[in-house]
């Protein structure tokens, strides 16, 4: 008999402890050091951790058992993600295991499943996402990148953009236009493209923090075998929506927020503002914000677990989660104040031995992180689009 209870069950607690123990002995210390201090992660760092998870069968931790996943429920997934986040594990690059894999599982052919899923689940193959195009913004259905069928190939021409970490990508899943008839949504197909194919060019976009986190990807007469089409031609929009519906509570990123709030407190202490009433109050407000967000996440998890309530508040999670990310990064920067202003790129590398102005090298990435996280209220459906969605739900 279920009843309202904040505490996790003994089984859930045991599960958490097992995860914690495993992460504790398998997460490389040099990687967690970088995560805890917002230092630069290399491709190798990210893939090293992905492979460790892959070997354990946990890179696809949300995968169903039939595809090699652990078969966890919503709460177990949450506990796993929380333990990873708190321990300072890098976020799993989601494009393979979280985004394209569920689409391949649901709509791909058995052949595609056998061909692609092992490489995704093991962390061997780096996937990228090809959704956004120049000018598309929040209007994802305005796909222009064209795939023309010629025999057993598609010829792909066009451009994708905002491709996160695309400079490392080996494969990319793309929305491409295969028909211009009917509504914009109806002529879109879901195509898997080998990024080593002739005609694929990746150009990094430098962001405001000086980092090349996203890319433009150009397709110039790229030949793609038709058996790389997922599902049916012109039905790609349906699959993409299916994929978006898989983004649930993790969009709030509350586990990371908890870790970063603790880091904020450490920074505030080091900078001597933790005992300043005004600054401390700002942290206190954020503390409540984080607890409230976590409770919201837990409510959603509970509803998922029991299937009893229906809580259509994913939009709220996105809005609040992104606002909180921006706020903690802002407060970290403000805590360091003038000592966050030097822009010394080398200082963002682990192991830098220089003398950072003010003497605290941990301050080096603070402003950059603040700048970088401005993206969070823009991407994944801007917060304005999310408010449209929420109000539609409330007002009809």
């Amino acid at each position: 008999m279920p009843f309202m209870d904040l505490a996790f069950t003994p089984e859930e607690q045991k599960f958490r402890e097992d995860i914690r123990a495993w992460v504790g002995s398998n997460l490389p210390a040099d990687i967690s050091h970088k995560v805890h201090n917002a230092l630069r992660l290399s491709r190798e760092d990210m893939q090293r951790w992905a492979k460790i998870l892959g070997k354990k069968g946990w890179l696809g931790h949300a995968w169903p058992k039939e595809f090699g996943g652990p078969g966890w429920n919503a709460v177990q997934k949450h506990l796993f993600e929380e333990e990873c986040a708190l321990a300072g594990a890098p976020r799993v690059v989601p494009f393979g295991p979280v985004m394209v894999a569920p689409v391949i599982m649901a709509f791909g052919s058995p052949e595609q499943q056998q061909r692609f899923l092992p490489g995704i689940g093991s962390g061997e193959v780096w996937w990228s996402q090809g959704y956004s195009e120049p000018g598309s913004g929040s209007d994802l259905a305005s796909v222009k990148c064209k795939a023309e069928r010629q025999g057993d190939k598609y010829i792909v021409n066009g451009q994708k953009t905002w491709t996160t970490l695309g400079q490392y990508g080996e494969w990319i899943f793309c929305l491409v236009r295969t028909s211009t008839e009917g509504k914009p949504q109806t002529g879109i197909s879901f195509l898997l493209i080998d990024m080593k194919s002739p005609g694929v060019t990746v150009r990094p976009i430098v962001l405001l923090d000086g980092e090349a986190e996203v890319n433009e990807v150009w397709f110039d007469n790229v030949e793609v075998p038709v058996n790389n089409l997922v599902g049916e031609e012109n039905k790609g929009w349906t699959y993409a929506k299916h994929l978006l519906s898989h983004e649930r509570t993790n969009i709030a990123d509350v586990n990371r927020a908890k870790r970063e709030l603790e880091r904020l407190k450490r920074i505030a202490k080091a900078e001597g503002v933790y005992d300043d009433t005004r600054f401390r109050d700002e942290i206190a407000k954020l503390e409540v914000d984080v607890v409230a967000l976590e409770m919201l996440v837990l409510r959603v998890l509970s509803a998922e677990k029991s299937g009893k309530n229906s809580l259509d508040i994913a939009g709220l999670l996105k809005i609040r989660g992104s606002e909180i990310q921006q706020r903690y990064s802002e407060l970290m920067m403000l805590a360091a104040g003038p000592f966050s202003l030097p822009f010394i790129e080398e200082a963002m590398e682990a192991g830098w031995q220089g003398d950072f102005p003010g003497g605290v090298a941990a301050n080096a990435p603070l402003a950059s992180t603040y700048f970088n996280l401005r993206k969070t209220t823009i991407y994944g459906g801007s917060n304005e689009v999310q408010r449209n969605i929420v109000s539609q739900f409330v007002l009809g």
Binding site: M1, P2, F3, M4, D5, L6, A7, F8, T9, E12, V75, V254, A257, K258, R259, L261, E262, K265, R266, T277, R280, D281, I283, A284, K285, E287, V288, V290, V291, A292, L293, E294, M295, L296, L298, R299, L301, S302, A303, K305, S306, K308, N309, I313, G315, L316, I319, R320, E384, Q386, R387, N388, V390, S391, Q392, F393, V394, L395, G396
Partner: protein, 371 residues
């Protein structure tokens, strides 16, 4: 970790909601407010539903239920902005059950559970504002027993209650006493409150009193925390209904030839109200589920919850009025009454700035619900 209500809890919710819908509509409430802000008859109906014994053990003729049931009931009373101070009944039931000597329990708990006796907290003093450890009331012990001298103000339904739970200094420390309104040396002066309810100034002059506990501050803090959790739940009910009223109005009211719910700027305001409501609901759950935690953890949780609820109440109340336009500031239309209720609740058991201070003072290195 589970936020599902049991079937019993759902039935409890339905029962209270039905009573509110049928027996406590806007017109009745208006009549009660005009008549002074408290209806013994309405209060009696809550007792008939069995609600007054919610936090009282079955041994004392109560229901022996817990914080989740209290939350469910308060949410529904909130939806109807019920003016009778039911929060006080939850507080009195729990505090007497938890801290009073057996004789006091036996004498009072069955009467509270049956609705025969309304017992309220009389703690507010002029110098204290929201501080619980500031107390000028004095208790004296003599052969005949304790007597109290005190001036307590804005006591909920103070001229209607049958007895008061009163903090007073005994030997320099705060102790908690029970004082009957009919006792010698007790005078009350009642008045309406901004939310349509009732309160009173209560003056005690050497009034005979019964000791509840000498560990009065701990008991008072517990009492206030029960009040906070109940007020949070009530606020969720008030806000839920406030949003519903606003949505209905926006989908009806036309300006420039279209319903005002078609304006994007107003739609986003509604999204923000929904956000505040759901954050508030989440923190109300949090408060109720932490009510039985050890005192330091409990106190920290209540401060966090009341801080969130205060912000939410202010935003939802103000925006509901704003989105209604002119009709929102009339007495005739219901939304202003919800707004006034939210305003008063923000100042009940400590306002938002007060609880920000509490959160700040109690901050730890850790973060999150389970920290």
């Amino acid at each position: 970790m589970d936020f599902d209500f049991t079937d019993d809890q759902e039935q409890l919710r339905d029962a209270v909601r039905k009573w509110v819908d049928k027996a406590y509509d806007f017109e009745r409430r208006r009549g009660i407010a005009k008549a002074g802000g408290f209806s013994r008859e309405a209060y009696g109906q809550l007792a008939e539903l069995g609600l007054c014994g919610l936090y009282i053990p079955e041994a004392n003729e109560g229901l022996g239920m817990g914080p989740v049931e209290g939350m469910v009931v308060m949410e529904e009373l909130g939806r109807g902005i019920v003016a009778e101070p039911f929060v006080q009944t939850l507080v009195a039931g729990a505090v007497l059950s938890g801290y009073a000597p057996e004789a006091v329990k036996t004498a009072w708990l069955p009467k509270i559970a049956s609705g025969e006796a309304l017992v309220v907290l009389a703690s507010q003093e002029r110098a204290a504002r929201y501080q619980l450890d500031v107390c000028e009331a004095k208790a004296s012990s003599a052969l005949a027993g304790w007597t109290l001298s005190a001036t307590k103000t804005v006591v909920p339904a103070g001229d209607q209650a049958d007895a008061f739970i009163v903090p007073a200094l005994a030997g320099g420390k705060i102790a908690l006493f029970l004082v009957e309104r009919s006792a010698a040396g007790v005078t009350t002066r009642g008045y309406g409150t901004q939310d349509g309810g009732r309160a009173a100034d209560v003056v005690l002059k050497d009034a005979p009193a019964t000791l509840i506990t000498l560990d009065g501050l701990a008991a008072l803090e517990h009492a206030v925390d029960i009040g906070i959790a109940a007020t949070c739940a009530e606020a969720v009910g008030v806000m839920d209904k406030t949003l519903a009223i606003t949505v209905e109005y926006m989908n009806t009211r036309k300006q420039f030839g279209v319903v005002i719910s078609s304006f994007q700027a107003l739609r986003h305001r509604v999204a923000d109200m929904k956000m505040q409501l759901e954050l508030a609901r989440s923190m109300s759950y949090y408060a109720s589920l932490k009510l039985n935690a050890p005192a330091p953890e409990r106190r920290a949780a209540m401060a966090r919850a009341k801080y969130q609820l205060g912000n939410s109440m202010r935003f939802v109340g103000q925006q509901a009025v704003q989105l209604h336009g002119g009709i929102g500031v009339t007495d005739e239309y219901i939304v202003s009454h919800y707004f006034k209720k939210l305003t008063q609740m923000e100042m009940s058991f400590g306002d938002t700035l007060h609880h920000l201070g509490e959160v700040s003072a109690r901050m730890q290195d850790t973060a999150g619900v389970f920290a």
